[in-house]
Structure formats: structure tokens, C-alpha cells
């Protein structure tokens, strides 16, 4: 197992998917200490729900969300977070020009959730989130990123 950063962690959707496929990060299903310092955001949960194949997978996700709720580690973007995301994206549009707003909107929401929770965002897509980091830096918010792969 790769050493993870200290403090709260927020796993990107890709980490859960890669674990679910049995491709990597198998410690996720074993390490209670890591689980207890993990935040699940509703944005990631929604992306996982969107990919469920049947009611059994949906139920497993329900149980996962329930466990995070019980820990007090389930977060969802507040109204202010949604609006902040829109404002930052508007700033990005004027800086970078046209971009894939649908993808970046979700990325930024996940990033904002990580910042709000004071968590390190654990993702393989560091390059994509690096743009979110620079956008958030312009709003004086620090996004901590970690690539476990």
C-alpha cells in the first residue's frame, strides 16, 4: 500500500471504480483507519450511482453512503459552493477561453468539496484537477492533490 497523506482524504470517482474492478487500491476494502478519515462527497456518489448496473450495486452504494453518513463524513455542496463554482468557472472562461464546462464543473465541485473538508483529493487525474487547483488558488483556496497510482 502506498503511503497516503495525513489528514482527511477525499477519493475521486475513478479511485472507487478502479477498486471495484479489482484493478488497484485493494486496501480500500480492508483498512478501517483509512475509511474513518475518508470523506465521500455527493458529487462522487452521484457519479457512482449513475454507473450502477442493477439494484444490488445500488444497494451496496446505499450502504456505503449510509456508513459515511454515520461517520459524519458524507458531504454535499452547499448553495454557496455551487455559486462559487459558477463564479470560478466564469473566471476560467475569461482566462482559458472555451473549455469542457460539463467535465470541469463536476471536477471543480469535487475540488471545492475537498477544500471545504480540508481533505486531500486522491485522484489519478491529477492533470485535470491541477487546472481546478489553479482556479481555486485564484480564489485563495488551496487544493491538496495526491496521485496514488
Amino acid at each position: 500500500m502506498i503511503p497516503l497523506p495525513a489528514g482527511p482524504l477525499l477519493f475521486d470517482t475513478g479511485i472507487y471504480i478502479r477498486f471495484s474492478r479489482g484493478e488497484d487500491y485493494l486496501w480500500m476494502g480492508e483498512d478501517a483507519q483509512v475509511f474513518q478519515r475518508t470523506i465521500l462527497t455527493a458529487v462522487v456518489a452521484a457519479e457512482l450511482y449513475a454507473g450502477t448496473h442493477d439494484h444490488r450495486e445500488k444497494r451496496a452504494l446505499d450502504e456505503l453512503c449510509h456508513a459515511y453518513h454515520a461517520l459524519g463524513h458524507f458531504s454535499s455542496p452547499t448553495a454557496a459552493a455551487w455559486i462559487d463554482t459558477g463564479i470560478v468557472l466564469r473566471r476560467a472562461r475569461s482566462t482559458f477561453g472555451e473549455m469542457d464546462f460539463i467535465q470541469h464543473f463536476r471536477d471543480l465541485l469535487i475540488a471545492v468539496e475537498a477544500v471545504r473538508a480540508g481533505a486531500t483529493l486522491v485522484t489519478e487525474n491529477v492533470r485535470d484537477f491541477a487546472r481546478s487547483r489553479s482556479l481555486l488558488a485564484s480564489a485563495r483556496k488551496t487544493l491538496k492533490l495526491f496521485n496514488p497510482s
Binding site: G14, D54, E57, D62, A67
Partner: protein, 100 residues
């Protein structure tokens, strides 16, 4: 026990699986029965735990740790279940296949 599990709707003309979720209602969760019990504990450690967690009492601190550990156990089981089932599809392209 009055735990309310909402039954799935399939078999009643619904083919999809977006039935009401299985969450237990909050008011049911909130109804906690506490029982005084006799445990052998290191009191100094319990006090330290209480301070660390900023709990109102030693009992609350111990209850909190028990709740956290049990929630983690449920969460880890849910993750393993997801893995056993193959896991959700990557509909947003978050985990593309790795190059060999």
C-alpha cells in the same frame, strides 16, 4: 423494533432499480437505548480519549469510538460488496484502462 425498511418496488410493475433507498429513517436511528454496563477499561486512556474527542463525558467518548468503528466496518463491507459485484460502470470516464 420499528426499523422501517422500504421494500423494493420491483415485481409491482417497476423494472428499474430506482426504488426508494434502504436508509433507516433518522428518527429511528435517533432512538438509542443506553444500558449501563460494567467494562474493564484503563480509565486514564478513556479520559485522554474524552479530551481528544472533546466529548461531554467518558461514556460519550466511548460510544463515539464504537459508532465510528462499526460504521467503518459497514462501509468496508459495502466496498467489498461493490467489488464482488464488479462495480459501477465508468460512465464519466474517470478510470480509463491503463496502458500496458
Amino acid at each position: 423494533m420499528n426499523a422501517i425498511n422500504v421494500l423494493p418496488l420491483w415485481g409491482h410493475g417497476h423494472d428499474v432499480y430506482n426504488y426508494s433507498c434502504f436508509y433507516t429513517l433518522e428518527e429511528t436511528v435517533g432512538r438509542v437505548v443506553l444500558t449501563r454496563t460494567n467494562l474493564m477499561l484503563e480509565v486514564g486512556k478513556v479520559r485522554r480519549l474524552r479530551k481528544a474527542l472533546q466529548s461531554r463525558s467518558n461514556s460519550e467518548a466511548v460510544r463515539l469510538v464504537i459508532d465510528e468503528r462499526l460504521a467503518a466496518k459497514v462501509g468496508l463491507q459495502a466496498l467489498r460488496n461493490l467489488q464482488r459485484l464488479g462495480g459501477p460502470a465508468d460512465v464519466f470516464g474517470r478510470a480509463p484502462a491503463k496502458k500496458a
